[in-house]
Structure formats: structure tokens, C-alpha cells
């Protein structure tokens, strides 16, 4: 019963979020600020995590390829497809749900408990749209960019770690990452990243917008937002993989 109540309230909130903005110019300014705060500021963590993960995947593939008849360029291929299909879209979305999601819930939740949202409503501003729409737009716009960046750094990570630890030669690794490339895998993951971006912004915004109480409840709402976003990302990953393959 609680699930249906929450789902109904979530979609009602989305209807308010996507209603006509009062001042497009102000929303546009906020969009650029959110792109910087939620997107550009995430480039560092995406680069670091992806570089390490690319290196680790490369090592794992190399250490598990015990058959001497398998060509070593498959190590590069394994890393590339792991990054393109799942790591850079799904795993990165899970990590971003922690970073961006908790940020969104705590920001909007703090505004709720300090009556800043009531203040917007009193002025006649559609608070849901004003606060949430620029965040959703910024995250949805930035997620495909972060996905491509993650794939790039993951491949670089494999190139650094694989040859330097003797797991694969640089030539074989580079051959591997170019071998049997299927462009549709990238299209598929870009579509997924758009969905995940929407979830990572809208679900935490929902939890923040309806928080009741004080600082403690904002913290609890942040945790619940991240957990629920992660579950939804995995559910949608399953559904989209079934639908798009």
C-alpha cells in the first residue's frame, strides 16, 4: 500500500516538475549552475574510479584466461565490452546515485525543513519545477557525457595496468580494444545512461522534497534515496537489457 502511495506521489510530483516554468531565463541559468555542480564536478571521481576499474578488469580477465590457446588480445576486448556494456553505464550510475543523489536529497531536504520551499510557494513559484527540473535536465544531459568519459578512462586504465604488470602487451591490448567492435553496444548504453540519469536526479529529489522533520530526517532520507535509486537502476538495467537486445 505504501509503495502505491509513494509511486502516486512521485508521479504527481513529476507532473508539477514538468509544468510550464515561470521564467525560462532563470531556469536556464540554474541549469548551467547544476551542470557545473552535478556534472562537471563529477568528472574527477568518474575519471579516478574508471581508470582503476579498467585496470582491475584487465587484470581479472588476464588472470582468468588460463587457456594458452586463447589469444591475449581478448584481454583488451574483455575490458572494452565490460566497460561499454555494464561498468560505465550501470556501475557508474550506482556510484553517481551515491554522490549526486545524496547531494540532491540533502539540498532539497534542507530547504524543506528550513521552510525555504514554503517560502517559494508563498511567492507563487512552482517550487517543484524551480528546484527539480534544472537538476533532472542537468543530470540527464551530463550522464551520456560521463559515460563516454568513463569508457575512455577505463580503457586508459587497462592500457596502463595491463602492460606495466606484464598481464598483456600494449600492442595486443590496443588490438583487443579495436577487435570486433559493435557500435550498437555504445548506443544501447547511451540509452541506458539517459534513463539512469533521470532516476539519479528524480528519485532523490522526491525523497528530499517530501522530507518531514529536521536534520536527522534529512540524513535518513538521503540514505533511503540512494538505496531506492540503486534498486531502481538495477531493475531498469534488467528491463532495458531485455528490451533493447
Amino acid at each position: 500500500m505504501k509503495f502505491f502511495f509513494s509511486a502516486g506521489r512521485y508521479f504527481a510530483l513529476l507532473a508539477r516538475v514538468f509544468s510550464r516554468p515561470e521564467r525560462s531565463r532563470i531556469y536556464l541559468q540554474k541549469l548551467f549552475l547544476e551542470i557545473e555542480s552535478l556534472g562537471i564536478n563529477s568528472v574527477g571521481i568518474v575519471a579516478v574510479i574508471s581508470t582503476f576499474m579498467g585496470g582491475i578488469i584487465t587484470l581479472q580477465v588476464a588472470y582468468n584466461m588460463t587457456n594458452p590457446f586463447l589469444p591475449t588480445y581478448l584481454i583488451g576486448l574483455g575490458n572494452r565490452d565490460s566497460l561499454i556494456l555494464e561498468f560505465s553505464s550501470t556501475v557508474m550510475a550506482l556510484i553517481m546515485a551515491g554522490k549526486i543523489g545524496s547531494n540532491i536529497t540533502s539540498e532539497i531536504g534542507s530547504m524543506r525543513v528550513t521552510e525555504q520551499i514554503d517560502s517559494l510557494e508563498i511567492m507563487g513559484v512552482n517550487s517543484a519545477s524551480y528546484l527539480i527540473l534544472p537538476k533532472i535536465a542537468a543530470v540527464v544531459l551530463m550522464f551520456p557525457f560521463l559515460y563516454i568519459l568513463s569508457v575512455f578512462f577505463g580503457l586508459i586504465g587497462g592500457l596502463i595496468v595491463g602492460p606495466s604488470l606484464g598481464a598483456v602487451s600494449a600492442t595486443d591490448y590496443i588490438n583487443g580494444i579495436q577487435y570486433a567492435f559493435t557500435p550498437y553496444y555504445v548506443t544501447f548504453s547511451l540509452i541506458k545512461s539517459l534513463f539512469f540519469g533521470f532516476l539519479v536526479a528524480s528519485v532523490p529529489a522526491y525523497f528530499g522534497y517530501f522530507v518531514e522533520g529536521g536534520a536527522l530526517e534529512v540524513g535518513t532520507a538521503s540514505t533511503r534515496a540512494v538505496v531506492n535509486t540503486n534498486i531502481l537502476i538495477l531493475v531498469f538495467d534488467l528491463i532495458l537489457t531485455q528490451l533493447l537486445f
Partner: protein
């Protein structure tokens, strides 16, 4: 003028406001008083539409707020200003940007006109020019309240609502805030409703006072009448501070002499 008729509000079956009927006059500081938890804030938030009421009617100068279409209600909200308990200034904006925010959202003024209006409003509440660039976290509680008042009057509202404007302030600053709200009310001829449990405010600026206890309207009158009211709950509330009993007795003595 704001008129309330038979207003009822409950939360999950618990009645918080029961059959409130009253009127708040234009150009006067109207006070809603009562103990903590008596329903003052719920009443104020119901009047401004932050809480949907169960039944009853609220009229803003004969415009029925309860039956208004959302678009008309939104328009009417631009005639309201509200000062929240904690100020509710936007953390991400500076003091000046907070005051400019309603102008950016709802007016077609040029940047120069907006800047002049922001300066006027902040000057009116005695905020120095140096503080314009500060963020809300860098200013004191009293300044936050004054900036909140400046923001509330930036669009020339017809109605001003203040939820416990003195909470957390020292007596001297409280007095300044009270006087400021009263001056603004008279100067701009607006209908002001203030929620408070501070008897100093009541005696300072209470031109019309509404006393609420356990969600029921128990008494209404003026600051001169309040000390002589016969209502037992009101007497308990007013004379919780013995200073007011002394004031009443002294006045009675003066009257008999």
C-alpha cells in the same frame, strides 16, 4: 482585509483548528497568540494556503481564496509576503539576491530598477550596504529576519504574514523587529498577521489580537482590552508573566483614582 469563516483543519483525524471565524483589518498589525502547540502556525499556514483546510472559507478583500482556481491563487500569492520563523532565506543566494529573487521571477523591471528596489527595501529594514553581498550563513538571526522582511515587501504586498518573527532574538532586537513590522504595515497600508507567543509584542504592536487555545478561538480584542479580559485560559496565558498582572493592577488603580 482578510476574513475567515468557520475554518476547520485536522491532520489524520486529529482536529487542530475548530470553527475559527474572524477578520483581520487592513493597515493594522493583527496578532494571533497562544501557547506553543495551540494551532497558531497551522492557522497562519492555512490562511496562506500552505495547508489545505477541511472546510470553511478564507476571503482576501472579498476574493474567496478557498474556491479559487490554482492559477488565480498563484497570482494572488504575488500579493503576499511572508516572514518565516527562521527567516527561510535561500542559502545559495546573497542577501541582495534574496531580496531581488521575487523581482526576477515576477516583474519585467530592468536590472537598474531591480537594483534600486533592492536597495530601497534593504535600506528600509536598516541593512547596511556592506551586508548586501553576504550570504545568509554570514549574518545574525536579527539581520536574517530583517532581510526576510525586506524580501517580503519587495513586491509591494497587500498582505504580510509573520510566523513568530521574534523567536530566538534578544528582547532589544525583538522590539526593533516588532516596530519595523508595525511601521511597514502603517506605511504601506497592508494587512499584517503576526503569529506570536511573546507578550511584549502583544503589548507593543497588538492592534487586533486573536487568542487561540487547543485549536479553538477563545478571545479577540485589542492590547488595551487584553489585560482586563475575563477569559480564564487567556488570563493564564497573559499572567504567566506576573509583570502584566502588576501592570493591570496599576492601571486599575490609576483608573479608580
Amino acid at each position: 482585509m482578510i476574513r475567515i469563516e468557520n475554518l476547520n483543519k485536522s491532520f489524520e483525524g486529529n482536529t487542530v483548528l475548530n470553527n475559527i471565524t474572524t477578520e483581520f483589518q487592513k493597515g493594522k498589525t493583527n496578532l494571533i497568540i497562544g501557547r506553543s502547540g495551540s494551532g497558531k502556525t497551522v492557522l497562519l499556514k492555512s490562511i496562506v494556503g500552505l495547508h489545505e483546510i477541511d472546510n470553511g472559507s478564507i476571503y482576501y478583500d472579498d476574493r474567496n481564496f478557498t474556491t479559487m482556481k490554482p492559477s488565480v491563487r498563484k497570482k494572488l500569492r504575488q500579493e503576499m509576503g511572508m516572514v518565516f520563523q527562521g527567516g527561510a532565506l535561500f542559502d545559495s543566494l546573497t542577501v541582495a539576491e534574496n531580496v531581488r529573487f521575487p523581482l526576477d521571477m515576477f516583474t519585467e523591471q530592468t536590472p537598474a530598477e531591480k537594483a534600486r528596489r533592492v536597495e530601497f527595501c534593504l535600506d528600509r529594514v536598516n541593512i547596511s550596504r556592506e551586508a548586501h553581498r553576504l550570504s545568509p550563513s554570514e549574518i545574525s538571526g536579527g539581520m536574517k529576519k530583517r532581510v526576510a522582511i525586506a524580501r517580503a515587501i519587495s513586491l509591494n504586498p497587500k498582505y504580510l504574514f509573520c510566523d513568530e518573527p521574534n523567536s530566538g532574538l534578544d528582547p532589544e532586537t525583538s522590539l526593533l523587529i516588532d516596530d519595523l513590522i508595525h511601521e511597514i504595515t502603517v506605511e504601506f497600508n497592508i494587512t499584517t498577521i503576526i503569529n506570536t507567543h511573546d507578550m511584549n509584542s502583544v503589548m507593543e504592536i497588538g492592534e487586533k489580537i486573536l487568542f487561540i487555545s487547543e485549536g479553538e478561538m477563545c478571545w479577540e480584542g485589542t492590547k488595551t482590552e487584553i489585560l482586563y479580559a475575563e477569559n480564564k485560559k487567556l488570563q493564564e496565558f497573559v499572567f504567566a508573566n506576573p509583570q502584566y498582572k502588576q501592570i493591570r493592577d496599576l492601571r486599575r488603580e490609576a483608573d479608580t483614582d
